[in-house]
């Protein structure tokens, strides 16, 4: 199956939830939650896409790099990944994806699909216990090759979820702290909330695994995460689904990365749709990116193979973009790859 056919199938399966638009930019689906859209006016989702589009890229072809020698490999949490592209944690297939997949089918597709592409999936958490469990089960079956992300539940519950991740041998574990206001969690009797720096420190201290704090959009909270002992942050506005009118993640990435990247890993997500977008995120200061909606489309269209196809395509595009910008390896992707960066996207 090729991408065109995959997308056509996904369009049918996701009918009512996702139009699989030619350009996935949050316009058609603004406010569709449940569904695939951004919250409210959809501005936060749109800002992700617009901030990336505003970054222009310097074409360079006078160098010694050859397509076969472009190296996109990355060592992350002790594992070698084929490329700096991970699957973002997503759950709620019943209401967000209209039941196109069960929670278990999704978890299977994304964990196995990512492994087949040489990289890793994050799996999610949600109001129904099946959500965390499905992802973790898949990770356990694959020898721990995956990263469960826990909602900001009460600390005692978080400890229990971390313990389960450790038992499953997960590569790392984390928390999408920006889910602190999600209402269906409270409705289901599993309240979430922001975490104080102290609470975060205790959570991280509890974890024997590298800990990722997902949902950082300011320098000050990046520093809190670093001081609390996080191994990594994800610069992310949760796909524009938790607070309307936030900046696009690419808008704030550079200034955050400039402050904390010496001490921790900096991941980013939000609006990444091509290998060139991956390159831009890395040029702005990320070590790797997460992909959300395109992988759900991949899974809806072709299951595990769909996830792999989307990830491999992104990896291939990244390789080509690196060749055309003169980057032999990921460490060579520096700020000077970006050109004509608008004022709002300040290079560090």
């Amino acid at each position: 199956m090729d991408l065109k056919e995959l997308r056509q199938r996904a369009r049918e399966k996701l009918k009512g939830c996702c139009r699989v638009c030619p350009e996935c930019n949050g316009r058609a689906c603004a406010g569709e939650m449940p569904g695939m859209g951004g919250i409210g006016t959809g501005a936060a989702f749109r800002h992700n896409v617009e901030a990336l589009a505003a970054v222009h890229v310097n074409l360079r072809t006078l160098h010694g790099i050859r397509i076969d020698s472009v190296d996109t490999r990355l060592n992350l949490f002790g594992r070698e990944l084929s490329c700096p592209i991970l699957a973002a944690p997503m759950t709620g297939m019943a209401f967000n994806a209209g039941g196109a997949l069960t929670e278990e089918e999704w978890a299977g597709a994304v964990v196995k699909g990512a492994l087949a592409a040489g990289t890793l999936a994050m799996t999610g958490d949600g109001p129904d216990p099946v959500m965390y469990r499905s992802g973790l089960a898949e990770i356990g079956h694959r020898g721990g090759l995956g990263i469960p992300i826990i909602k900001p539940r009460a600390n005692e519950e978080v400890y229990r979820y971390i313990d389960l991740a450790q038992e499953a041998g997960a590569a790392a574990v984390g928390m999408d702290i920006d889910a602190a206001g999600i209402i269906p969690m409270a409705r289901a009797g599993q309240p979430v909330s922001p975490k104080t720096p102290g609470e975060l420190r205790e959570i991280i201290a509890h974890s024997a695994l590298p800990f990722i704090v997902k949902g950082i959009m300011t320098v000050d909270e990046a520093e809190i995460a670093a001081e609390a002992g996080a191994a990594a942050i994800v610069v992310s506005n949760h796909g524009g689904r938790v607070l309307d009118h936030t900046p696009g993640s690419a808008e704030v990435l550079t200034k955050i990365s400039a402050k904390v990247r010496d001490h921790m890993i900096v991941l980013a997500d939000g609006g990444v749709r091509s290998g060139l977008d991956v390159l831009k995120m890395l040029a702005l200061g990320a070590d790797a990116v997460l992909i959300g909606r395109p992988l759900l489309i991949g899974a809806a269209g072709a299951g595990e193979e769909g996830v792999t196809l989307v990830l491999k395509t992104l990896g291939k595009e990244l390789k080509e973009a690196m060749l055309m910008t003169g980057c032999a390896g990921l460490s060579g992707i520096k700020a000077d790859v970006a050109a004509g960066v608008p004022a709002a996207v300040q290079l560090g």
Copy 2:
């Protein structure tokens, strides 16, 4: 009744005056006066909406705030309000709202609806004496819980209107000085005009109630109002209905607030459509905001209950937005809540 149904009903009742657009931004109704549009090309109305949209918001979830402890209460003119969201003064239902409500129905809906939401309504003035009288009567019936706003009539007449407000026990009184050029007033033999600083001082001196000057868009006029003894100003371009091509109020709010907020209360209106917009106005320097068109839609759709529903929804959204931006109370909403503010919106 939920908001969707309310809006559907309002759409029917306001047919010919207001389309109840998905995004209320002054485009479809440009120049529709009488009606709900902005004057002329509608640019001043649009600027209100665009200036707010241009303010991005910093997502923060590493803190100790919990949704139940977020405090949106405000003490204004000696009254405690549930949230910093008041009803803006509006009149002219016969020509602006196509008679969907009578002047008395509107006054009743907005004054009672605001009280039921724990906040206050301003009521208006206009060419027909029923306009000022309807609002004031409602305020009187509610023990003075409302704020009548007087048009910039001849001073002697203003004194009489202030006296009536005092007799009704109103919480405060004010003048929408930016209505100085409204032609139907002159046609009805009740001319309005700008006020000199001296005239304004005399008016304010006449009032035993806290006095609000509504329609300030420059630093110099804010200072005139402060020196004349005003208790508050409203940074406002009158919903874009008195002069085309003015800036959006969010564009000028910060520099005005920076100059006068030490000495007086700073309110603002113009394009506020969500609790997040309220948060933005407060981050830019307002103590509270006024809501106009959305409340008229609320009243047209469901009377007093409609007004309450719209206000409570905004209050709830504000609470959620405060949680997600790390603001425990209104005094915690500072300039650093705003991110990526464009050059035109200078933070003080």
Copy 3:
């Protein structure tokens, strides 16, 4: 007849040449020459409108100005005008206006219509001798109350045209120097060309009447005109009809005016559609403005009365805009009337 009816009639008479769009901005008619559009892509026409729209206006109502005391009078070339709004020179009714009027009808309508509105018309020149002659004849019949504008013909011919203007007792005379590349002139055996500073000096020396140089878009050419003895310049890109992609006149007006206004009169045209646009042009540094297309629409719709109606409406709007921005007279319209002026429009 009101403006709505006038515009409806004009729409019928100008069919094929002008759509009489709700917003006259050069989009629908891009490249329509002959016709009413801008040259090429229509960008120069659009820039006129966009540059004015980008200027925001400060609302001010705390002052002592009353609508009846707003004074829009201007003394220009020894004549008192009711308002700073003149008719721009236009010709070529047969090809540009589809023959909706004859050249003589147009000249009559604009010269008489402007006088009836208390102001003056400029009349034009073109490949057919009837064009200059029609305007001049009307001016002669009105005791010289009009200003003929001559194309940049050979100097000897210009002298002859100036002599005719003097004989007609014209208030002033001028040249639209930016018509230097107009091809139909050459085709008709009456070539035009740019003028050297020396040639311009000789032309102006020849004229006993105040001389206006129309079509200045840079500081250096404004200074050449001043040194050559011009009484006035018109900052203008010829309605976007002589060179595509020029700036809008409002974009360059301030820096030009700042350099030469001490020594000469500065007029401006390009995209002025409302009294508020007139106010903006004056705030940016013009002494008065010229109106083009809206007057042709006026004349097509209702002849002389149409011209008067359009001019009086603009004058009335200007008065209202002055009231609402705190300007008692034209000399009170200063740079601080403009707010939020974008970088491209630098205040002097």
Copy 4:
């Protein structure tokens, strides 16, 4: 045949490949490769057009230049050209132009059509040997009046291609180094790749003809080309067809030209659609421009005559634009011709 008819015919012949849009800006054809579109989202193609549109032009008519004395001639590689407008190298008619022309027909039309317009064509290279051969054969038949551009093949092969160009007596020879990632070349067993500065130096050393490096978008690579001995560079993003999201060439031209133009010829292409666009490119620092898509449309519509007509029209428009901006000859087109250049387009 006039341009209108030419375009109508081209629209029919290119059906499925090119819509011959009123404004050729890469929107309708985004991602259409094979075809005429830009790669990926088409952003790089669009940036070319947008960067040129963002450059405004200063109208000047107070000078001694006459239309008949405007001199657009240029001496390039020892040949005098009628104007600074060359044909860009294009190949792949079978897949990019839907077979509307054969490779030989295209080569004949563009080489002969350019000569008839008094200028020169570049011819291209591609996966099928007929591509390079067709262009070179035409150049040979015309006494070498043309410039073959070689893909960045293996150096040994490049030497052979250069030798062929020398044998044909070509005016110059060059390499579109930005084609370093083109996949159909590799598939056809003729791999391309970036070139190291050393490899480029060897290639240029091999050439007895002036050597052009096409596809420079950064200052650093322009300096590499200069140091390697190139006679000229073409600032170009390959019509937006090799890497998405690059800047428009007009965006980077000035800073590149400022660094290297003392030592070499600077050509540019990308989005040039009118003589005024040519003028802009020269004002931003180019010695001459290349035209791509409009010439393919010309050839599809009317063969050799179509190419000539498009080039002559551009030359005529350039002449008119020079008259209206006060430029007697090409050396007079300086940075001060550009006005209101946005920040992204920094003048050197």
